[in-house]
Symmetry: D2
């Protein structure tokens, strides 16, 4: 049967990345509290294609994914990158897994336990040498507006905001490390389960620490700069302003270049 | 050229609705303040298909849309429904236009003008007799939590919420009528442009009228029940709780059955 | 501490449904091939609220979810509905779980195994008496256009389409039952892993069975009418027409009324 | 009234970009065929904030937008960037407008006219000197698989794909220029309105020019390299494979660095 893909390219240009997107798979990931946890991931995989070849072989990406051993961590991602490079005879491979990561969190007053999820993405990029690893975590938080609080006779507008942290790793980090940094940097963490005593605590705590999106971004950046395992990072805070229909955002980057998936 | 669609259906069942979805077109709609306004709409059109015919003729939907005269209102929608029924020789036609509607709104203290948009959908359903008309408007508002306010030493969590109003019309209503009902029913309207004096006003005003999603839904329903032009309605309020990563919602229906698009 | 929610409602109207939306949780569901499988779900829960009470107690929804025993099936959903009704002292409760369901599928020629996911939603509604159960499954399929094939010298446009099946259950059904019905009703199933021999098979098989969206909807409906466990259903087919930027759809309903979440 | 934003930042780090996102406004843009056209845009605006200041003044972004004169083109974008820099006393400003752009297109056989929309984004970034301008256009096209065609006895799978072109401009380009490049690079353009004769033409034309995502990306890149007004570009092609539930993609970049919004 003819292998059309291996034929010559009509336009002889190299392709930076070619592959598949949006494949959903079950995933078992490392969990700081419980050893492992079960989740699901959406996977993107791509490879470089030299100018000489017309097409890549898309089914091999899926075969590489299917032949994974179950547990997923940085080491498993590196092995998968090597495997994809070999199967596709490629000089460079990039893989990303996007998945919700679950944490059981205790409410601040009653200690009631509630499960909350954080959307994460782990991306690996392997050319020659050691792979480049990027961890992204989205952490919902609460912000109380310092301006609204200072100028109003009573109250202050507050809202849900999202801290999106992306970090190039030089060593191992727990997703929980990033979650804790984001939550400590805003007016308050958010929770799935809050009893009345907890709601009182969260409200008063948040109002004692009003933060602009600028404050949250800087607080996160200040903490990230101290993490040995992080080579460079980008933090973006976006708040669903409760007095507007549009959002506010602030972004700080430090020695950061994005990885295309 | 063979007309495959007009051939017999292999399985002789009538089809409730068949048509096209997601066609984007420019739209000129009636505007209470300015006469008309320009916006864009995503259009869905469908017709009933009897058991005897294999397929409908999809291109005729687009032709009907293309032959519209520019200005769009209830009368134009009715004419379009008739036109689609005729072109498709159908017993029943349904059309919906989903579009942002723009309003210039004055800030409450300084009167500064800012443009804000409300996502609307106007649906018409025409079988025998008079068409059934459904107007849907999504209105972003602000809610301050009454419980958080009552139990906390200071402050109260607030958030952006969306009021989604759907009403079966028996007469003409302005989109602005629904917007005003939704905004009067929450802790505060939201605005695009707020100077510092306005932000103080909005904060204090919102904190003087704390509302649960249940309160907002009931306030809207109470006002809708008095509108002569409305035959039945559904109101749904969904708030992006600032202390949680999930949302809260409340829904009230009154003599309401949804129209499928 | 004051219980503001239990106070009187300023506007004394009953609320059809009030609750939480968008809470993400890990889920273990029954699997026809493997016994059980791990996935994640987004959960919505709501209860009726009488005119006399101002608010519901949102934290109890989360507590009910947290106290679930691990495995999820129709029986577990019924127990959860009872539990929510009791905790909230409500006359009626509705719960829905939306989750990807994974199936390992063999390619048609080589038998290569690839994992594919189907987005499902299981909704329960419990007032007095027995609960009402609704299963929804979205199945991606391939359609080849019969008209394009009949009139063209060569080829025919094909595209990915989605069959969305919603059925009110009176007995147990496997998700796989619905998947098989949808796949048998289109021009071809889709697969995650196809080697060259498989791609040849799928292409030729699909071109031997060209289908309009109308054909697929009728084929599905004809098969659903024979299922004893199904009381009523709605099937909707939407195809991403490869010759257009908009979609085509067809819908058939049989003894079906939607459940609001 | 206190100006909290102008106070000192608790953590003295500069912020790369701070501003607003998701503000929807009506927009009048240049149109090659008709002079101007009315559409709607979603706007993001951000400025750099030095380490010394705690916060930016968000309302000034909206004021700048509100004081625009109606017609929008590259010159108007440059004036707006200057205006934002001045109002915010910022060293650097970035603004992006995302909007559907409408084109009336003649069907290839009958010449029937149908309106089709292309999602565009125009971004300007102004520090010292001349602004950096980025135009992005998403063009839906049709691809017929060369491998499927070569190995199958009959037919070949085809699908809708999207060409996403992003180009750094050194001179004026029409959106239509990018649309034409994308459409000429795939198996066939897509249309809103196709009569039977047109459907025959499109099918046969597409089957005479089968293309992989790799081919489309290279064809586009080859054409973009010849455009004098383009300094650098990125082309990404993503196809909704009709034999899979996941997508295939290919990307080529040439002297391209993304602009963050």
């Amino acid at each position: 049967m003819e292998d059309v893909q291996s034929g010559p390219a009509p336009v002889a240009l190299p392709i930076d990345s070619v592959g598949i997107r949006g494949l959903e798979v079950p995933l078992v990931v490392k969990d700081r509290a419980c050893g492992v946890q079960h989740t699901v991931a959406v996977v993107d995989i791509g490879v470089e294609l030299p100018a000489a070849f017309r097409g890549t072989h898309m089914s091999r990406f899926v075969q590489a994914l299917e032949s994974r051993t179950e547990e997923f961590d940085l080491a498993a991602l590196k092995r998968l990158l090597e495997d994809v490079k070999t199967r596709l005879q490629a000089r460079r491979a990039r893989i990303s897994f996007r998945f919700p990561y679950f944490v059981r969190k205790a409410a601040p007053a009653t200690g009631s336990l509630g499960t909350i999820s954080y959307l994460c993405r782990l991306t690996g990029d392997l050319g020659e040498g050691t792979p480049c690893l990027l961890l992204e975590v989205a952490v919902p938080v609460m912000t109380v507006c310092p301006c609204s609080k200072a100028i109003s006779r009573e109250g202050a507008h507050s809202q849900r905001a999202t801290v999106r942290l992306a970090a190039r790793l030089r060593g191992f980090c727990w997703i929980e490390d990033f979650v804790e940094i984001a939550e400590a940097s805003a007016s308050s963490p958010v929770y799935s389960l809050l009893k009345r005593e907890d709601e009182k605590f969260v409200t008063e705590d948040a109002f004692s620490r009003p933060t602009f999106v600028e404050d949250v971004a800087r607080n996160v950046a200040g903490r990230m700069l101290k993490l040995q395992q992080v080579e460079g990072f980008r933090v973006e805070v976006e708040s669903c302003e409760s007095i507007h229909a549009h959002n506010a955002f602030a972004r700080i980057e430090h020695r950061f270049s994005p990885v295309n998936s």
